[in-house]
Amino acid sequence: MSAIPGEKGRAWTALPAPPLERVLRRSQFSDKFFTMLGWVLMSLALLVLGLLVLNLAKDGLARINWQFLTSFPSRKPAEAGIKSAWVGSLLVMLVTAATAIPVGIAAGIYLEEYARKNWFTTIIEVNISNLASVPSIIYGLMALGLFIYKFEDWFGAKDDDVTGLGHSIITAGLTLALLVLPIVIVATREALRAIPQAIREAAYALGASRWQVIRHHLLPYSMGGISTGVIISLSRAIGETAPLVTVGALAYVALVPPYPFQAKSWNGDEDVVLVGSVTTPLSQIKTQKAVDDSPSPEAAPALAVAPGTLSLLIRRETEECKSRPVQVDVPVQPDQPLSTLIASIDKVEGLSANFDEYSTLHIVADPGIRWRVKKDTSGLIAATGLPAGGGVFGPLEWIHSPYTVLPIQMFNWVSRPDPAFLNNAAAAGLVLMFATLGMNAGAIVVRARMRRRIKW
């Protein structure tokens, strides 16, 4: 660059450059300028976020109380709550986590540690990154086509609403799992890639097999990064609405899914508006699965019960509304087909109105049994007996329940004319934001702790 004294006879000359002071002043100025710029932009972002939160808090904070968290939605804003919404969000997240985490981590490990680098894996890698940026509604449409229609075609018996996944928690959970899977895979791969090759070689050099290296070293050391990715992906999923609208989240759900083992009786639990038996314990009722799909009374499940009068609390539900629970006394004969029992219930005054083929009648007579009743087009009633918490999914029957989630509940309230519902929406928004921020804070804590524990 510059002349070196004595080299090839060139004389030592001053550097053709501006004075040192000026150069230093300029670089110091640019340093300060960018520090300032960073501060201003960050404050701006925080200010906008802060204003949003404040606005939400102003509208909603007063509504957040025990009643709000433990009530089902209602036509009266002051009585409405988010119980079904947060329970739904929680359960959907559970399904999402239970599927996306193992599959995503396994896929990440495979791509990073096992897969040969060739054109095929390159295509897969590129596509996984691309999937992360696909609009979520696309996932919703795909899930509608696959989980609901195709699964019904493949596995579902016609007119049987038990098989197939339907508009249920599991459909929603799987849809969101697909949505966050690329994020989990990418996070896993990044976390694995951050582990120096020297650590792998150290383990291999001691005679560890590939799986032992993964199990004893790579997974523990990358857990911080992986769990951060998982938590952040779940906090994205919890706020998603678009895909859930397409797979049939309900805006209005006034029940919580059955508990796994129904350890707790519905009776006496006022929050559970599902219906209970009043006088007659139905534990001796046995169900028979219908032999075929024909809705004839003979094929319907029979009741094995002592003759007498059955007192039931029943409530009718459609997707639009639900009736108040009504006590019904029904005479029963031994081995009476269930359909005739239902038919006699149907005749009870005030209940038969608006009872159409889309209605679902829940008779939760006893912790033991839950009936799902459906009228078909011919006017006959097909009834399917589901042992409570049993059904085709066994103790996982809850995954097959209808559901709503927090953001959908918010939408529903926002769209109502009564301004008091806006406060409910704001309150639900605060709860949702609390959940999201809480998860992100968890991710930060996990990451910080792992950083402290693991160094290379």
Binding site: K117, A198, I199, Y204, A205, L206, G207
Partner: protein
């Protein structure tokens, strides 16, 4: 570095290599006779040449016409034949990129971890006569019997105790008492016990660089390996830590056979019994260390030793 060396000399070195190959030929043949008792071959060998560096030594491993390809095409080690005497330190020296580390990593099949690599020829572990680089030989078994210490200290982000115990756990040692005894033994052998005995549950990376490297040595020794490979173990350490490691290497040869790659010729002179000089993937000369450094028979070796290239 090639440009430094006149072409004629390079040719000369090849010729020298061929000559030395011819020299060892008869002995290699006698060692490979079916019932020749490979372990005893070194002792019983008749003195064909005037100078036999391995006289009176039992062999631990024998490299025969061994070549190695990276990614199936780049030949990084070319037709190397080398013998590793038991309970001795053999140093591999040579300029950067000469293939010495590549050769070292063949001994525990580290190249298996990356796709497309290919071994040719044999590295025979004696006295069993097991070919290390044979596809049929288990790489895991070889790595349990031939352990390695790397260039940069690479302790696991686990406790000091768990670092040393890991090899034992892989070997299936269950007894807590046994593991504790062996961990202590390994740490003593690595001259680290006194420094860490009160903080065995502290993380390994909390130690200084030199201590970390000794921890890695303890980790490599814990399972009683037959050979320990050192890949420039002191290149990331200061002179004091280097001194300790060198002392350790000299002490350890009573227990194990050591193969050490080093850039530092003084180090090779200080710690090793035998020195092999490699250049561009070929083994140029191997002899007793004193001879290599005082009276090398190859001009290329002499030039490298005297610092004229490399």
């Amino acid at each position: 570095m090639v440009s430094v060396m006149p072409r004629g000399q390079a040719e000369g070195s090849r010729a020298g290599l061929r000559a030395s190959g011819a020299m060892v030929e008869p002995r290699l043949r006698s060692a490979s006779t079916p019932d020749g008792g490979a372990g005893a071959a070194g002792d019983a060998m008749p003195q064909h040449a005037a100078h036999d560096p391995y006289a009176g030594r039992t062999l631990k491993a024998e490299v025969k016409d061994f070549s190695f390809y990276y990614g199936g095409t780049v030949k990084a080690v070319k037709h190397v034949s080398l013998r590793i005497p038991q309970n001795s330190v053999t140093a591999l020296i040579g300029p950067s990129g000469c293939g010495k580390t590549t050769l070292l990593r063949c001994f525990n099949r580290m190249h298996d971890l990356y796709p497309g690599n290919k071994y040719e020829g044999s590295i025979t572990l004696l006295p069993q006569g097991l070919n290390v680089v044979d596809r049929k030989t288990s790489a895991l078994e070889m790595r349990m019997r031939i352990s390695m210490v790397f260039q940069k200290p690479n302790p696991f982000p686990k406790s000091i105790f768990e670092n040393v115990a890991y090899g034992l756990r892989l070997r299936g040692v269950r007894s807590r008492a046994e593991i504790e005894a062996r961990v202590e033994n390994a740490l003593r052998s690595a001259a680290l016990w006194e420094e860490v005995k009160d903080r065995l549950n502290k993380p390994g990376y909390a130690l200084s660089g030199g201590q970390q490297q000794r921890l890695c040595i303890a980790r490599a020794l814990a399972t009683d390996p037959e050979i320990v490979l050192f890949d420039e173990p002191t290149s990331a350490l200061d002179p004091i830590a280097t001194g300790k490691i060198e002392e350790l290497v000299s002490e350890l040869k009573d227990r194990v056979t050591i193969l050490i790659v080093t850039h530092n010729m003084q180090q090779a002179a200080r710690v090793s019994d035998f020195t092999a000089f490699m250049y561009m993937g070929e083994l140029i000369e191997v002899d007793r260390t004193e001879r290599i450094f005082q009276n090398p028979s190859n001009t290329l070796t002499e030039q490298y030793i005297s610092g004229r290239f490399g």
